[in-house]
């Protein structure tokens, strides 16, 4: 039964033949090892308690793992959005990347879940707690529940795509897209609805999250597609090149929107020095996180990839890859800064307290770094495996 199911969805022929088993095995072994190290660090942290292994504290309870989780689910939602442009909304140019995007949206969200499982100190209580203690006012409840549904829809969509049941796939793709967008804007609302956190509070977060998801999706699909072809020695056909060009242009548009958003976020954070928000914004603009912000977010994440894509009009694959690599790194900085800087202004700020920090500090610990590396390795492992099993995710019957 199980075997039958697998033979149904695994293409036995056609598509692209993966690179030699030697190279593949080495890469898989390395990624597998890194995943295990990450899982080991995570399990150890759960065992002895975050108090002893993580850099998080009472004042900054969310650390790099939350940032990595946000990074993964933003990417996943983005890949879902990008995939749906082609086969939900019927823009033909986007079709060649659709299957890979759907697969990767699953891979990235699974990696995200892996990371969050170690950030939530009692994640095993979640399945039961989420049902018997369901709290409809909690954005994190909605996010978790919707992302669960999202993963389910995306899995079905992927299976339907493999079975060439396109109508059903499109229906589940649409369901996945809708739940993904709802889940993701709820993740934004997890931050945006906290009245006590001035830097996050407001409608900006959910809106920004969706827009930057679309941007992340474009960047990620270029990044992964290029590596898949390079790693396996495949040659891109014209349809794929055309698709990459279209994705790059959509990505460039999204980057421009993100630049616009970021400008106004900066201006509203500074003008009139709004209490709480201003201190956090200054930390980004001129303080301890200014390198992250200007170097990581602005240059790597926005300006550089945008200029590269515009310079080659999305047509040079090597340049597109460089742009997407910079984008991926920049986007990680965006998530990290967003999560950490929002917590740095302490609760009783602006009250003239003595011996009270003006800003809190957070440094990720070794354990946290290892878990994040493990998550990235696991995502990469799924990606490499997927390329081999699904023969380059080619879309033939369109």
């Amino acid at each position: 039964m199980n075997n039958n199911f697998l033979t149904n969805i695994l293409p036995a022929e056609g598509g692209l033949e993966a690179a030699g088993t030697g190279k593949y095995n080495v890469v898989m072994a390395i990624l597998g090892m890194l995943t295990l190290v990450g899982v080991g660090a995570g399990v150890h942290s759960l065992w002895v308690g975050h108090e002893h292994t993580f850099g998080v504290s009472r004042g900054v309870p969310w650390g790099m793992l939350i940032a990595a989780y946000v990074f993964f689910v933003v990417t996943s939602t983005g890949l879902c959005i990008v995939s749906s442009v082609g086969h939900v909304f019927g823009i033909k140019n986007f079709n060649p990347i659709a299957k890979r995007a759907v697969f990767l949206s699953i891979a990235t969200i699974v990696a995200g879940f892996l990371v969050i499982a170690f950030e939530i100190e009692n994640s095993w209580r979640m399945p039961v707690g989420n049902v018997i203690g369901a709290n409809p006012t909690s954005n994190i409840w909605w996010m978790g529940t919707l992302y669960g549904a999202y993963l389910f829809f995306m899995l079905i969509e992927f299976v339907m795509l493999q079975k060439n049941l396109h109508k059903t796939a499109t229906a589940f793709g649409l369901a996945g897209l809708l739940t993904g967008v709802a889940a993701h804007s709820n993740l934004g609302a997890v931050f945006g609805l906290l009245n006590g956190r001035e830097f996050w509070h407001g409608p900006y977060m959910p809106i920004y999250f969706i827009t930057s998801a679309a941007m992340s999706g474009c960047v990620a699909i270029i990044f992964f597609t290029y590596i898949a072809y390079k790693f396996n020695g495949w040659k891109m056909n014209d349809d794929m090149k055309k698709a990459m060009e279209s994705v790059a242009k959509m990505g460039a548009l999204m980057m421009a929107i993100i630049i616009f958003f970021t400008c106004w976020k900066m201006i509203t954070g500074v003008t009139g020095q709004p209490p709480g928000k201003y201190e956090a914004m200054q930390t980004l603009l001129t303080g301890t996180y200014s390198m992250n912000f200007w170097g990581g977010e602005v240059v790597l994440g926005m300006i550089f990839p945008l200029l590269l894509i515009l310079a080659v009009r999305g047509r040079n694959m090597h340049v597109l890859f460089i742009a997407s690599l910079a984008g991926m790194i920049g986007i990680f900085f965006m998530r990290y800064d967003l999560v950490i800087v929002g917590q740095l202004v302490p609760a009783y700020h602006g009250m003239g307290l003595v011996d009270y920090p003006e800003l809190l500090t957070y440094v990720p610990s070794l354990h946290e770094n290892l878990v994040v590396v493990g998550g990235i390795a696991f995502c990469a492992l799924l990606f490499v495996m997927g390329e081999k099993l699904f023969r380059g995710h080619l879309t033939e019957n369109h």
């Binding site: 100190e121 709290n135 009783y348």
Partner: protein
């Protein structure tokens, strides 16, 4: 009927209504529509969240009974920290955490001189607690009877969202119970065992902390909060949490 007779009759238009009657009618309408549209969210005459005009609730508008609250007579605090120690002992607070602590303010007296003001802080047991709203598994909730914000440790998944949501830094993750821990006005350690007050209140030598039922007009907290010529404030009112720890200056 002749036109003259008509003029003789009592008018039935709104002018005939006393303003009290009018108000009553209006109030009923608002209450009805408010209830219809989601009660406390939109009703202008909502009982539960009334008092938005100031930090001290209107008389009789306390959602809980007993409506436990604490009044901090701030300028009397001398930071002897007996409250902290009593809390640690009573509630088994580990060395890396606290349920209550004392902060220190400085105020210029001019001429280069300053005065120190110690500010005890603890969970504010808000009427609209952000921590309770964000908890995905209702592991933290407002006790329906007393309004105390309590924890159900076995339900806590450790996502720490309540810690980021709390405007008062009143929560920490307690590794020993694998759950977020916080002040519960000594509900588990004392009140539920028949004691009438919290450990910190009992330990305070300067009568800074006063604990009691705000809904009882004979209680000290009621009398302090409603005393004339008294400055009453709460911490971070702008977050809309409607806290139940009041600070006064006398």
């Amino acid at each position: 009927m002749k036109i003259d007779d008509l003029e003789q009759m009592d008018s039935e238009d709104l002018r005939g209504l006393t303003s009290n009657e009018r108000r009553k009618f209006l109030k009923m309408g608002l209450a009805v529509t408010g209830l219809y549209l989601g009660g406390t969210v939109l009703s202008l005459t909502s009982v539960k969240n009334a008092g938005a005009a100031g930090v001290v609730p209107e008389d009789g508008q306390y959602p809980y009974s007993p409506h436990y609250s604490m009044v901090i007579r701030e300028r009397l605090c001398i930071d002897c920290e007996r409250c902290k120690n009593a809390c640690v002992k009573t509630n088994h607070v580990p060395a890396y955490g606290f349920r209550t602590t004392i902060l220190e303010k400085r105020r210029s007296l001019g001429g280069g001189k300053h005065e120190t003001i110690f500010m005890p802080v603890l969970c504010n047991h808000c009427n609209r607690p952000p921590c309770v709203r964000v908890c995905p598994t209702t592991a933290t909730y407002k006790d329906e009877k007393t309004g105390i914000v309590v924890m159900n440790p076995p339900r806590c998944i450790g996502c720490k969202t309540c810690m980021t949501a709390c405007p008062y830094n009143a929560r920490y993750f307690k590794e020993e119970t694998r759950a977020v821990d916080k002040c519960d006005f000594c509900f588990n350690s004392r009140l539920s065992k028949g004691e009438s007050t919290t450990a910190c209140v009992e330990a305070c030598p300067a009568d800074v902390r006063v604990f009691g039922d705000l809904a009882d007009n004979k209680s000290r907290v009621y009398q302090l909060v409603h005393a004339p010529e008294t400055m009453v404030w709460v911490l971070r009112p702008e977050t809309g949490a409607v806290p139940n720890v009041f600070y006064i200056n006398s």
